[in-house]
C-alpha cells in the first residue's frame, strides 16, 4: 500500500490558481500529516546471534507490529522492513542481547530490489551499535540515524548483529528488540 507522493504546484506571477492546484496543496499537507511509519518489536527472544568477524551477519527477527501505516512489515519476512513509499527514511533500532556477558556489534543493511537503479546488491553496514552484555542486567545494542540511501520500492532494511567468540541470545528482559522506520523526505 504505497502512498502517492504529492505534486507541489508551481504558481507563477499572474497565474490564476485552479482548483486542482489547491487540491494538490492540500494533498501535500495530508501526506505529511499521515506519512509512512513502521515500528516492530520482538516478544519471543531466544534467537542466537552468531559469532562474526568485522561485519554483523545475523539478521534479527521481530514478531510483533506496533505501528505499520504503509504495510511495511509482514510476519512472512520477520527480519525486514520494506518501505512501500519511496523516499528517505530515519531508522531507529535496538537489539536486546541478553546477559551472557559477551559483546555484540550491530548495524543496518539495505538489500536493493529490482527497482533500484544500482541493481541487485546491498548497501551497508551503516548506523552501528554496540553492547557488552552485563551478566546480571543484560544489554541492548542500539542506534539511530537517517538511512544514507534513497529507498526505492522493493528495497528493504535489516538489522544484523554479530558477537565475539561467545554467542549472544536475544532476550526480552525489560523490553524486546525493536526496529522502526519513519519517512522523512521525498
Amino acid at each position: 500500500m504505497a502512498m502517492t507522493i504529492p505534486t507541489v504546484p508551481q504558481l507563477q506571477a499572474g497565474y490564476i490558481a485552479q482548483p486542482v492546484d489547491m487540491t494538490n496543496l492540500a494533498a501535500c499537507c495530508t501526506f505529511l500529516l499521515t506519512k509512512p511509519l513502521c515500528r516492530v518489536h520482538d516478544v519471543t527472544a531466544g534467537q542466537t546471534i552468531g559469532a562474526s568477524g568485522n561485519v554483523p551477519a545475523t539478521t534479527i527477527n521481530f514478531t510483533t507490529e506496533d505501528i505499520d501505516t504503509d504495510g511495511m512489515w509482514t510476519v512472512v519476512n520477520p527480519g525486514r522492513i520494506t518501505p512501500a513509499t519511496p523516499g528517505w527514511y530515519k531508522v531507529r533500532y535496538g537489539v536486546n542481547v541478553g546477559n551472557n556477558g559477551a559483546s555484540c556489534d550491530t548495524a543496518v543493511f539495505q538489500v536493493r530490489g529490482s527497482g533500484n537503479p544500482l541493481g541487485a546488491g546491498e548497501n551497508g553496514p551503516f548506523i552501528p551499535g554496540y553492547a557488552l552484555s552485563h551478566t546480571t542486567k543484560g544489554g541492548c545494542a542500539a542506534s539511530s540515524g537517517v538511512w544514507p540511501y534513497y529507498l526505492y520500492a522493493g528495497d528493504y532494511l535489516q538489522v544484523r548483529a554479530g558477537g565475539d567468540a561467545a554467542t549472544n541470545v536475544t532476550a526480552t528482559t525489560d523490553a524486546g528488540s525493536y526496529f522502526s522506520l519513519e519517512f522523512v523526505s521525498t
Binding site: M22, A26, C29, T30, L33, R39, R92, G139
Partner: protein, 192 residues
C-alpha cells in the same frame, strides 16, 4: 493544545469560501512551525543518585522548549494526540563493569483506548556493561509504540547494577554538572 489540522480534500471551481483556505494555511503552519506542532526539549535540574537494581525515573523540571506544554516536572504529559518520537541522553559516574541501561516508559492516561489507564510500556532500551573507569553515557532514540493520547505520560529511566550519581565526574569537578542530559520529543504524524 495544538489542533490537528483539518485539511480540505477538494477545492471546487467558483468556491468563494475562505474557510478552506484558512484550513490549508493552518495545516501548513502546523507542519512547518514547531511553535505550533508539538516539540519539547527538557533538562533535569538535579543529579540524583540512582539506586541499584531498580528502574528509576530521572525528573526533568527545566523546559528549554515546550511548544505544547507537555512538561510536568517529571517527564512529558501528552497534550496533542498522535504518534511521537523521543530521544534522551543519560550519564552516570561509573566504574568498570557496571550494568547501565536506560529506557523510556509510557503510562496510559484516561483517554488512550490502546493503553489502559495506569498500564505501562517500556521501550527504547539501550545499555550494557560499562568498561570505562570514569564516566559512561548512553543515548536513547525510539518511536513511541502506541498512539499517544492526552494524559499519557512518558518518562526516562535508569537502571544501574551499583548505586551511582547521574552526572559526569570526569576530571573530578571540572566536568561535573557541565553536560546537559536532554529529554526530547516531537510529533511525527496523526494517529487514532
Amino acid at each position: 493544545m495544538a489542533a490537528i489540522p483539518q485539511v480540505p480534500a477538494d477545492f471546487a471551481l467558483g468556491d468563494t469560501s475562505i474557510s478552506e483556505i484558512q484550513q490549508l494555511t493552518y495545516a501548513v503552519n502546523f507542519l512547518g512551525n514547531y511553535d505550533v506542532r508539538p516539540l519539547w526539549h527538557l533538562e533535569p535540574s538535579t543529579t540524583p543518585s540512582i539506586g541499584a537494581n531498580a528502574w528509576t525515573t530521572l525528573p526533568y523540571s527545566i523546559a528549554l522548549f515546550d511548544s505544547d506544554k507537555v512538561s510536568d516536572s517529571t517527564g512529558a504529559l501528552i497534550v496533542t494526540q498522535g504518534y511521537y518520537a523521543v530521544e534522551a541522553a543519560l550519564q552516570i559516574a561509573a566504574v568498570s563493569s557496571d550494568g547501565f541501561n536506560g529506557s523510556f516508559l509510557i503510562t496510559g492516561g484516561a483517554n488512550n483506548p490502546h493503553l489502559g489507564a495506569g498500564s505501562t510500556i517500556r521501550f527504547g532500551l539501550r545499555g550494557g556493561e560499562t568498561n570505562s573507569t570514569a564516566d559512561a553515557a548512553i543515548c536513547l532514540s525510539d518511536v513511541v509504540p502506541v498512539v499517544c493520547y492526552p494524559g499519557d505520560q512518558i518518562v526516562v529511566q535508569y537502571y544501574v547494577s551499583t548505586a551511582r550519581t547521574s552526572d559526569a565526574n570526569t576530571n573530578a569537578t571540572f566536568n561535573t554538572g557541565r553536560f546537559n542530559r536532554p529529554f526530547m520529543g516531537h510529533f511525527i504524524r496523526t494517529g487514532t
